[in-house]
Structure formats: C-alpha cells, structure tokens
Symmetry: none
C-alpha cells in the first residue's frame, strides 16, 4: 500500500518555506505500514493542481492533500479535486452552521467568504476540524483508493489526523507488522560501502534497504513488513546478521546513536575521559564531543592552537619539531595529542592538524593523532571537498579511531 | 517563464529528511526572473520518476532534477529521463577518464560502479562537477524547453550551478534587470525585527522583501525587478535606506558575509587578534571563527575548559572564585576571557560559560565574557530552545558583541 502527499500553497514555493507537514505525515503513514512514494508541492493554480491530483489517483492508493482549504479565492484544493475526479461540490448548511458557531465562540464575525468552506465534494465525508474553520474531507473512490483533504496549519492537521483520519487510513492498509534495523558506519564512502554490502542486500526486496550518506558517515536502514511480527523480525535479523558480518567494527551504532554519542557511551562505560588538541578544526572536535548531553562525564577540555606560536605556548610543542617537520606532520600530531593528554590529565587525547583550504597546495592533507595509556600514534589522511567538509570528515575519522581503540 | 524542481532519492521520502536544495534553487531561479510552479520529491523508482518527468516537461519550461546521479543501482535519474524522453544514453570514455582522474587525485581506487556515471543522455551536454564524481547533464529540447540533471549533495549542486548552470538558465529567461540588497542582523528575534521593519517594507511590492531567520541571525533580502537596471537599483536603494535607518549597527553585513566573516574582516582591518575560552560551547566558538578562510590572520587559539578543574589548570581561574560564584557566573566569565587573552597574547578574548541542558534548573542561563585593551566585562543571557540552539545562539551573541565593540 502506498501514498502520495501533496502540499498546496504558493507560499510553499518560496525560497524560505519548508513543507514540514509531509515529514510528520510520512512518519504517521510509515507507522501504519504505508509507504510514501512521492511528494509534491503545488501552488494555488487550480488547473495544475487538478492535473497533479489526477496523476496521483492513477498511480497511488492514498492521496493526502494538505492546505488550500481556506476561505479565499486562492484556496483551490476543493475545486481541483472536483476537476480531477470530474465531480461537483455543493453547499451544506450544517457545515456553514458549524463554521458560524466557531466564529461565535471566538466572539468574531464570520466573513462572507468563509461560506466557501461549507462546500462538500459530492460523495465526500465531512471531517470535523476542532482547531480551525476548514473542515477536512475524506473520499473513498469506487476503486478502493482514498483521498484526504486536510487543513494546512500544522496544529489543525495533527489534530484532525489523530482524531479522525488515522483510523480511516489504518482501515485501508492491510495489517502489517514492521521490524527495523539501523546500522551506522563512519569512515567509509557511500560507494565503497555499497559495493561491499550490495551483494548481500540486493536479493532482498523485504526488508527494504535504504542507505543515507553524509560525508564520512553512512546510515543503513532495513525495514521488513510482514503480516506476522515474528517473520518481519526474522527477515531483519537474517539480513542484519549478514551486514554485520561484512562491516564488523566499522559499525559504530545500531540504535540510531550518532558517533559522538557512541564514543561518549563507550568512554563512560570504561570510566575513561578524553581531551583534544585542535589546529585545523579550530574547536569543531570539542564542539562535537560536547554536543552530547552529560559529556562533562567523559570530556575534560581542549587546546585550540591555530598558530605555531600557540602550539608552542599552549601545548609546549618544541620549536625545532615544528620547524623540522612543519605543523602539519605526523610527529607534531603525535606531540599535540600527548601534550593535550598530559595537560588535561585525560585518559585519551585526540589531535587534528591539517590544511582545510580553500586554497593552497596541500588542501586535504590532515594528520589525526591519538594518545592514551602506553599509546601514541598519528594517521595521515587525504580528504577532499570544501573547507567545511574536510574539517568535518577529519573530526569524524578522529572520533572513529578513538572508538575502535576503545574496543 | 516557469520551472519545476524534482528532488530524487528515497531518503527524501523518510520522516526526517528535508529537501533544502529546492529552497536554494528557488532563490536562484527567482533571481533569474523564473517562477517555480511545482516541486516534487520522488523515490528511487525509475518508472514513477519517468512519469513525473514526462508530466513536468509537458507543463513547464525548465525542469531541474537534483540527485540520483550516483554510482549505484538506486541512482535512476539518468534512466528515468531517457524513458521520459524516449531516448538513449551512452558511455563516454572522456567522462570516465575525468572520474578516474578525480579518484587518482584523491589517491583512492575508482570503484567499477562509478562507470555508470560516465553515461550521457543522447543530445545532452555533460556539465563538469568540480566537487564530486557525478557530472551534471543539460538538455535542450526541440520545443526550447530545458532539463538539468544536477547532483544531490548541496555543495556539489551549488558549485555546478554557479559555475555552469546559472548562465544557461539565465539565457532561457527574458531579460529583466534585477537589483538586490541584503542585510544581516544578529541578536534579534525574527518577530521583533519584522515588527520593526514591516511598516517600512510592506507598502512595496517591488522590491520583494524576504526575511530568512535562523536562531539569533536574521537575513533580509530585497529584490527589485524592472525592465531598466537604473529603476531597479533606485527602488532597492530607496527601501534599503529606510531599513538601514531603523536597524543601525544591528546590521553586521550587507554583502552576504556571515557573522564570523564580518568579525574576521574587522579584526584583520584593525590588525587585531582574538582568542577564546569556552565551557558550555565546547569549541563551537573557535570552530565558527575558524570556519572562515585565512582566519589564522586574526585567530590565535582557544582553551576549552569543560570542567572546573580544567578552568583552574588550563586558565588559572582561582578555585575560590569558582566556589564562591560557581562556574556559570559573571566573575568567572570575565576571568576566563582575561585569562585567555593573557595566555594567548591576543588583542581580544571571548568566553562562554553556561547551562545548555537538556535538563537542569538553569538551562539557558549563559554568561558571555569579553576582554580587550583596558576592557573586561561579561553579559548575562537567558536563552531558550534545545542544547544545540542554546550553544549556537550564545556563540552568535558573543561574536556580535565583539563586532560592535570593534566599531
């Protein structure tokens, strides 16, 4: 069973306005076992909207329209649905009375144009809207497909959904149990990862595998849907086991935790702490570690040494080490991590030094250092992308190294 | 002239993923005098996507597709465009060589499936993508309509747009002169700002005023479109002058520079430097200052002191000051800024200490300190929102205080 969501309103076609309703609706629909296969945003143009609705009705089982139910000429959703279905709408006094009553309760006069909201598409069921003047409409087509016309303001939409629409939608969908798994992997490109695991997941159409990639961070979602919960779980476990075998300790979390949280939990479990010495990232690594609530349990502090002089004075890196190897070198990265560890008394310390660009010969050359009990080393990285990406991936790989080292 | 934007990728049909590319593209298209009349989000389903594209080509003059150009089987945009247009695509060695070269530069092996990205739709122009492996494609149809296939990652999309696509798109649109102005304001809420300037801008339909708000940071865009360039400029100047009078030194930039850049430029012009002492923000302030290229000219370093012990050892804050006032207090914020200034030798130093939550009695209580030549003070802030927002707004207000102090 699949659905399309169509958000109506020219304001949603401006550079600043995000359609957040569809995210919330997607969550609701997925929970009911219904997949969202397409979303659209349409302006207040009746003809275009009617064409969009007609196409959606042909392709999909359930069409959710939000917005365009207001009292003005701009509000074209009702008209467009009529045009798409080739049917009519009529004025209903009982709807008009409900709207008038609402205005009376708010001690406001009902405007003449609010009467437009009392028109019901022939064959549609009027759905009461406790939080606004526009009633929703629910249409079952002879094919079994359904169309919902819902108000656009988020609070009205959520109210009418929970009170009235959700159970109608759930009655459409065959009862399906859903099982999910979620793997997160740092330090691998999307295509490398996909090449590794595609042979394992492509034979499965259930679970569905979705791969989401951010720089240096890839998320794998599995979702199985079956009439029986046990079978959905078995399928997810079966595929999950195969993926886990291939990725091993490259997986940093299986419960949706981000890398910072995974590292923090591991440090907390070991009673260990971490500090940082940052050059190129300017504080980003510390900022990410402390983005996790309660990070004061495992994070002590950091030294941001953006110049050679600061590396000497704040971290005590010997001047001759800097002049012999330059600040972007393996020996300096090691010395930075060791110095941060000593100066903060943390169990572990991470360092980052490199060239983030945007210009220069060595943009993307980065050294990440790690020092800990009886351990000090640094790794050379070659990163690509813009300044923000290079800094962010360097921090990700630093955190992931510590995570693996903690075991 | 109108356009449709189609974002491709099943991950964009999940409950958490927002299509932000289309907002940026809408801004770019509007600036070229092109109206966005519909937007869609499609999953990785070739047949559905092809139907969507075929419909868009019928309805609209320009179709912008983003995403789905990657190397995996999931990436169906090229195939879907071929199906919609009834044409074919072919492998081109020159595209494959460019991809291989890119991998060689990054010192990585090119995966076999990256060869998929070397297929060009018959009749399409290959558009180089400096920031990723997927080239874009630009198709002019016999009808004069155009289709652009662009990469999904925002940095790649923006890069290819500015370098290659923008001028192709502008060549399609009728010539309209455009004048713009751009004011950025820190430390004011959107509704406060809007209440202040709405009486001035609402009488104007040309220029169009758009207000974009992020926490602690509001951007005001004016855009006038006229057949004559001089008239567009006159209109923008007229309204711009009125807005400038109302906002005064709350405006931190008029050329699109972000706050970090505005502060950095001012420091560079004065030959001054800055350092940081951070507690609650964990390095965020330093990270933001160093997000600007060449920030080593004005940023020296920072001390991230996340615990009381670190405040004592790394910054030398007296233990009795901490015990008397607590780490989140005006005296400690001042002492942190002074100590950072002394230890790094910077002209100015900023400090941040506070409670970012998510739980606790004093979440949102923050002190920002500033020390400079003959100056040391701290301000108390009461911020709301989640942990990320509180940290980010605190850093914004710290930077804005320094900016105003620099004059």
């Amino acid at each position: 069973m699949n659905a399309e969501i169509i958000a109506v309103g020219s304001e949603l076609l401006t550079p600043t306005k995000v359609d957040t309703n569809s995210l919330w609706l997607t969550d609701q629909l997925n929970a009911a076992g219904i997949e969202v296969v397409q979303k659209a945003i349409a302006g207040d143009d009746r003809v275009r909207l009617a064409a969009l609705i007609a196409g959606a009705v042909e392709r999909s089982d359930l069409i959710i329209l939000t917005g365009g139910l207001g009292p003005t000429e701009d509000d074209v959703t009702r008209d467009a649905v009529c045009q798409a279905l080739g049917c009519e709408q009529h004025f209903h006094q009982f709807l008009c009375d409900a709207i008038a009553e609402r205005f009376a309760r708010m001690k406001r006069a009902m405007a003449e144009n609010n009467k437009r909201q009392a028109f019901l598409i022939d064959g549609a069921e009027a759905i009461p809207n406790d939080r606004g003047t526009a009633p929703g409409q629910w249409i079952r087509l002879p094919s079994g497909k359904a169309i919902a016309l819902l108000p656009g303001p988020p609070s009205e939409l959520k109210g009418i959904w929970m009170a009235e629409i959700e159970r109608r939608v759930r009655a459409l969908a065959p009862p399906l149990a859903i099982a999910t798994a979620h793997f997160r992997v740092a330090g691998m490109g999307e295509s490398d990862l996909d090449q590794l695991i595609a042979p394992v997941y492509t034979p499965y159409t259930n679970p569905v595998t979705t791969i989401l990639a951010a720089p240096g961070d890839v998320h794998i979602h599995l979702r199985a849907r079956c009439p029986e919960a046990a079978e959905a779980q078995r399928l997810v476990d079966e595929l999950g086991t195969k993926i886990r075998e291939l990725l091993g300790d490259r997986i940093y979390s299986e419960d949706g935790a981000d890398l910072e949280t995974a590292v923090g939990r591991r440090l907390a479990a070991l009673g260990a702490t971490v500090s940082t010495a940052e050059s190129m990232t300017g504080g980003l690594l510390g900022q990410r570690i402390t983005s996790v609530p309660d990070s004061s349990t495992w994070f002590r502090g950091g030294l941001v040494t953006y110049t050679d002089e600061m590396k000497r004075t704040l971290l005590g890196i010997p001047a001759d080490l800097l002049s012999r190897h330059s600040a972007v070198s393996q020996p300096v990265a090691i010395a930075m991590a060791q110095a941060a560890r000593e100066r903060t008394g943390a169990t572990w310390a991470l360092s980052i030094t490199g060239y983030a660009g945007p210009s220069g010969d060595n943009v993307g050359l980065v050294f990440v250092g790690l020092a800990g009990p009886g351990f000090a080393d640094a790794r050379q990285l070659h990163l690509f992308g813009d300044r923000a990406r290079i800094r962010n991936v360097a921090a990700t790989l630093a955190l992931d190294w510590l995570r693996k080292k903690l075991g």
